[in-house]
Subunit: 125 residues, 2 copies
Amino acid sequence: MIGYSPSETARLSGFSLDTLRYYEKIGLLSGVGRTSGGRRVFTDDDLGWLGLFRCLRDTGMPIAQMCRYAELAREGEHTARERQELLERHAERVEEQMALLRRQYDHLRDKIRYYQGVAEGVRAR
Amino acid sequence: MIGYSPSETARLSGFSLDTLRYYEKIGLLSGVGRTSGGRRVFTDDDLGWLGLFRCLRDTGMPIAQMCRYAELAREGEHTARERQELLERHAERVEEQMALLRRQYDHLRDKIRYYQGVAEGVRAR
DNA sequence: TTCCAACCTGGAGCGCGCTCCAGGTCAAGC
DNA sequence: GCTTGACCTGGAGCGCGCTCCAGGTTGGAA
């Protein structure tokens, strides 16, 4: 189990140093190790969590809900069911989000096709 | 060409009254009509614009860019090309956004499947 | 005529998710 | 030992996109 410096972790996770500190401050990331001098040392496990947070953030989960998830995980195995449900509800919202995005993307493409039509009309005349 | 009251417009567009006023204030929506008493009267054209704004917002376009688009449209036909390019660049970003969302959704589904495995006896984080 | 709900304006406030800053500490290389 | 850059903490600030508020006006129904 190797340790990663803050800047390495930032690079590997794609989160900024400030965001890493922020996530720890609000209790999203907990139990981050320190050197004798007080500097953070992140583990592969921490990187695993950060990967999950990246996934959840990219799919639009609010931070408060990620905190809830992390808290449940800390409580132990008996919360597995609840965590699963939380993720499933989120996945459903993501499905809706994807459907909306696709619909609006199609509208956007229609609009662009309209501009292409205008361009051809001008050329025809 | 009928006119719509603010509350009707809010209902039809899905934007709140405050948001309609805000969009006018920042110059996104311009030339909104008034009654003699100073109340807003929205037209079908305004609703068309609001529909476009809804599409652009839902696909993540920043308001500043929508303002830019609206401004170009006000300048006349000779900006059509630039408007088209603006929309095309946006559409490309939306494609990336959709691809990312799909990728992260798949990760999320993996994670959920993992929990389903736990229910069958495997150990989870 | 009176009522009251819908509307007006200008401007302050908010929730989110960071991001930046001041003022200090730590540790690797010269 | 000294320099330098990465890191520390607590807390303030920011950008976005609204949202709310105070205090006043309008206009259709009873």
